[in-house]
Amino acid sequence: MPVDADEELMLRVSQGEWGALELLLGRYEGPLLAFFHRLGCDPGACEDLVQTVMIRLYDERRRYDPHRPFAPWLYGIARNVRREHVRQRARARVEPLDESGDAAVEAAAGPLEQAEAGEESDLVRRALLRLPEEERLTLVLRHWQGLTYEEIAGALDVPLGTVKWRIHDAHRKLAAWLAAKDSGEVWG
């Protein structure tokens, strides 16, 4: 039985079909949660952000153009939701959304935390958090969420060359940091 394309499901959502909404949200629940995790937010905030994106998807359903790919549209919403959340947290003068923030990274890079961080996942996570925000976002969309350069350019509303440059630069930095880590150098 053929699987319905995301675009077809979203069109049906825009026409009020509840079953299509169930399928679509079920399909993107994991990818959206992973997206926010990899951008560095804590688990509780990540789930809230995923819910916000899903509700916004529903609220914006009639604005969706089914002739355009669904995933970039959705991640465009996800990016805006995260941005708003970061702003709110900044206004509330609480810790940055992602312990991902630089302060958290620096703290995690301290000697004690380094000693405790033996897992490769943690190593990658901390390396990723050292990337500039936009580079990290672009790399996450390409490497894990599977968007093409062109789709990322559409989702983030930036030129294709900028996407390409960010991905290249992110890889260059990650390679250097991970190699330095392997050779026992201290991050900083």
Binding site: L11, S14, Q15, G16, E17, W18, L21, E22, L25, G26, E29, G30, L33, A34, H37, R38, P43, E47, V50, Q51, M54, I55, Y58, R62, Y64, D65, P66, E120, S121, L123, V124, R125, L128, R142, H143, W144, T148, Y149, K164, I167, H168, H171, L174, A175, L178, A179
Partner: protein, 280 residues
């Protein structure tokens, strides 16, 4: 491709972003160039490390969102009246009846003979006519056709205001002459029905396609479908109206109008419920 070119494209190669000839060239270069291969191996090891980053699995987030949306939609439905309730039904019934009533008044005044019309025929024509108006009314409220139907209704209303109402008898007279000329010819009668279908469908298509706001899925396919339904359903009614309706036949017409409005409203409820199901 030289080493500089290939190394500049390794990340694009990794992500499948190269054109076929570029990919082939880069792959061939990597196979024979011992200087570039380590860079490719390093890039793939970084990618592999990224791939091994495990994140937590979701725990019922979608279900919670669906439950929340269902509650919200139910509250909104209560606030705005849950679906096509009785006042809606009465409203559309009256609208359909009024529209059909106007049409019978126009036709009843035609100074032409009206032999050959039976009461059932007149009742049927009126029922079809009113059902269509009632159904169109529902479409303006429900489902994906609502913007289109609303636009078509507004445009059709404006065209009625602008139409030369007094020329209606002349149109009927011309139509009657066609029927006389076509007597006994299935083909010519079929052509008249076809003309009736176009007469009914064209304004709907035109006004819907021109006036309605674009929406997901596109206006044109929806306008064609809506116009097609109108054409097919309305053609027999138009055909029957090539005979003028005598004042003595107004009673069955009105009866048919009421029946048609009721059927059209009930059909509208069924269609609207299917197109626009309530959240579970």
């Amino acid at each position: 491709m030289n080493c500089t070119d290939v190394r500049a494209e390794l990340v694009d190669l990794l992500y499948g972003e190269l054109e076929e000839h570029e990919r082939t060239g880069a792959s061939a270069h990597l196979e024979r160039c011992a200087d570039c291969r380590p860079a490719w191996v390093e890039l793939r090891s970084v990618a592999a490390a990224l791939d091994r980053w495990v994140v937590p699995a979701p725990r019922g987030i979608a279900d919670r969102v669906l439950a929340r949306l269902a509650i919200r939609e139910a509250a909104a439905a209560r606030a705005h009246g849950a679906g096509p309730a009785l006042p809606h039904l009465l409203g559309f019934l009256l609208a359909g009846a009024a529209a059909a009533g106007v049409s019978v008044l126009l036709i009843a005044g035609a100074p032409v003979p009206h032999e050959g019309l039976s009461i059932p025929k007149v009742g049927l024509a009126a029922a079809v006519w009113a059902a269509l108006y009632g159904g169109a009314g529902f479409l303006t409220q429900h489902g994906r056709y609502r913007r289109l139907a609303a636009a078509a209704a507004v445009a059709a209303g404006l065209s009625v205001l602008a139409a030369p109402v007094l020329s209606m008898p002349a149109v009927i007279e011309a139509c009657r002459r066609w029927l006389e000329a076509a007597e006994g010819s299935v083909v010519l009668n079929g052509l008249i029905v076809l003309a009736g279908a176009l007469y009914a469908a064209a304004p709907v298509w035109f006004s819907g396609a021109i006036v309605a706001r674009p929406h997901p899925g596109g206006i044109m396919p929806d306008a064609l479908r809506l116009a097609g339904v109108y054409g097919v359903l309305l053609a027999p009614s138009v055909y029957l109206q090539c005979h003028a309706v005598a004042l003595s036949l107004v009673a069955p017409w009105v009866g048919g109008v009421l029946l048609g409005a009721l059927l059209g409203s009930a059909g509208g409820v069924a269609v609207a419920s299917r197109l626009h199901p309530a959240p579970a």
